[in-house]
Amino acid sequence: MLSLTRLLALAGVAGLIAVPFIADGLGTPAATTLATSMLIYGIAAASLNLALGYGGLVSFGHAAFLGLGGYVVGILYQHFVSETAVFGWFAGTNQLVVTVPAAMLACGLVAACIGALSLRTSGVQFIMITLAFAQMLFFLFVSLKAYGGDDGLIVRRRNVLPGLDTRDDTTFYFICLVIAAGCWWLMQRFARSRFGLVLAGVRQSERRMAALGFTPYAYKLAAFIVSGMGTGLAGALLANHQRFVGPDLLHWTKSGELMVMVVLGGVGTLSGPWLGAAVLVALETTFAAWSENWQIFLGLVLLAVVLLTRGGLDRLLRLMRGWRAS
């Protein structure tokens, strides 16, 4: 059983590495771009899963972090090109090793503020407050004419990384793959760590965890901050990938999309969010090519998966593995 799991994992890794070469071989280089999107949304969904799945914190405002991460890249790039100072304080940059940590730092700070206030509530109130904060950021960026307002910011050239040509789609795919692999590894460690176990306990019974001597609020806040930072990382990569960042990344439908990825893949599972992100990105692309009203088809697929598997794609895979074994 273990060897089969190992085998599947190895096949998965080999497949991910082979994607750009297969795409080039088949004469469809766009597939590499699509796969890059899947990886980036996978990072975002896995980060949301940290709060939503492991912590039971149903955040309906994670688009705020996706968009903010993207805007950090966009704003730093704009000031780099115009050779002006950001907030009249520090210079812009196009170095990926600077912009990505900056995006994560900014998202961590904003997540700390949003989390500190929203986590005083729970349930439906928590959902609504996170949504409200995300909408505030959305309208802030829509009205920021200096940074494109409605039109967003164009990042004419991707951020640079010493020694690598990030303008090449294949190279950028591999950069995202390495970062995604790092996120996967961290998430897997995280779920078994002391913190992960406490967070899972808080999700099940805050009362019990308090009676053991823990302060549930602190753990929920830390999870929310890390989750926001991870989503910000995805936003920063997305802005580089699309070479554009606009308010649509901050829109509440984006928050919904991230939640759909997590639910579709399997809430609180390791591989679920990645599967969900990949499938949702693939379906969106496929259906959008078919029809203008592609969201109808997407909705039907979601209904089918959620109702029939009761645990998302991750559970579906487990069931199939179980059948094969029996």
């Binding site: 961290l186 460690r189 995280f190 078994r192 760590s193 002391r194 913190f195 992960g196 176990l197 406490v198 899972a200 306990g201 099940q204 019974s205 009362r207 019990r208 965890m209 308090a210 009676a211 053991l212 001597g213 823990f214 302060t215 753990y219 830390a222």
Partner: protein
């Protein structure tokens, strides 16, 4: 003997209803102090005030001379005040071992550790195994709590509370819902702990109370109407009226 827990003038009202009415209570080091009273007397409310889930309107709670009032539930646990719940509050998805290990983990350094595998922490796991062995649940180590019997869950409640290494254990009806045999087991288990830590035992099962308690306090409509040895309480006229009045209605 000095008081470990010292409660003075504690009060709580919900709207017009006075649930805890000027309660003075002392629990001595190492004693089993039973808190009895008819349904609705305010026993669980008092427990919730002591452990910090419910803020008090007035009065002071001291544990070993340290004022507990401003402390959160978690902080009080770290000072040595643990509790069990009348309706078991356990992590149902997790195994018996995981439940107890979390309690041990709570007092072994901080839990803001994100990378190391907590289930391979030998110190924590071994300590947890000992508490589970004491509770007689070793054979159920890797069983999810949701699959335990009611009696086993009650035993696990006690084991988890003990794993926080308390000086005072608040027991909220540990026998409630147990069968006769299970009740006896619980009485034996609690009896074995006597002297190692102080216990405040809220219980309806009078056989258990008289078997375990060194002293008994009687709570009636939010007030302590009597405190004394089991014999003194048995002979107390006011207590008899309170209980007989309840029995008549």
């Amino acid at each position: 003997m000095t008081s470990l827990l010292e409660v003075r003038g504690l009060a709580k009202r919900f709207g017009g209803l006075v649930v805890t009415d000027d309660v003075d209570l002392d629990v001595r080091d190492g004693e089993v102090h039973a808190l009895i009273g008819p349904n609705g007397a305010g026993k669980t409310t008092l427990i919730n005030q002591l452990c910090g889930e419910l803020p008090s309107d007035r009065g002071t709670i001291r544990l070993a001379d340290g004022l507990l009032n401003p402390l959160s539930v978690g902080q009080r646990v770290r000072r040595g005040l643990a509790r069990t719940f009348q309706i078991a509050q356990l992590l149902a998805d997790d195994t018996v071992l995981d439940n107890v290990a979390l309690a041990v983990q709570a007092r072994h350094g901080h839990s803001f550790r994100f990378l190391a595998d907590a289930r391979r922490d030998v110190v924590v796991r071994e300590a947890a195994r000992r508490y589970i062995a004491d509770a007689g649940l070793t054979s159920r180590l890797d069983v999810p709590v949701a699959d335990l019997s009611h009696g086993e869950q009650k035993q696990l409640e006690v084991a988890v509370a003990l794993a926080t290494n308390p000086r005072l254990l608040l027991l909220d009806e540990p026998m409630a819902g147990l069968g006769h045999g299970e009740s006896r087991q619980m009485v034996d288990a609690l009896g074995a702990l006597k002297g190692r830590l102080a216990m405040l035992l809220v219980e309806h099962d009078m056989d258990a109370v008289f078997a375990l308690a060194d002293r008994i306090s009687v709570l009636f409509y939010g007030r302590i109407i009597a405190t004394g040895t089991p014999d003194e309480i048995r002979d107390n006229a006011e207590v008899r009226t309170a209980y007989l009045g309840e029995g008549d209605s």
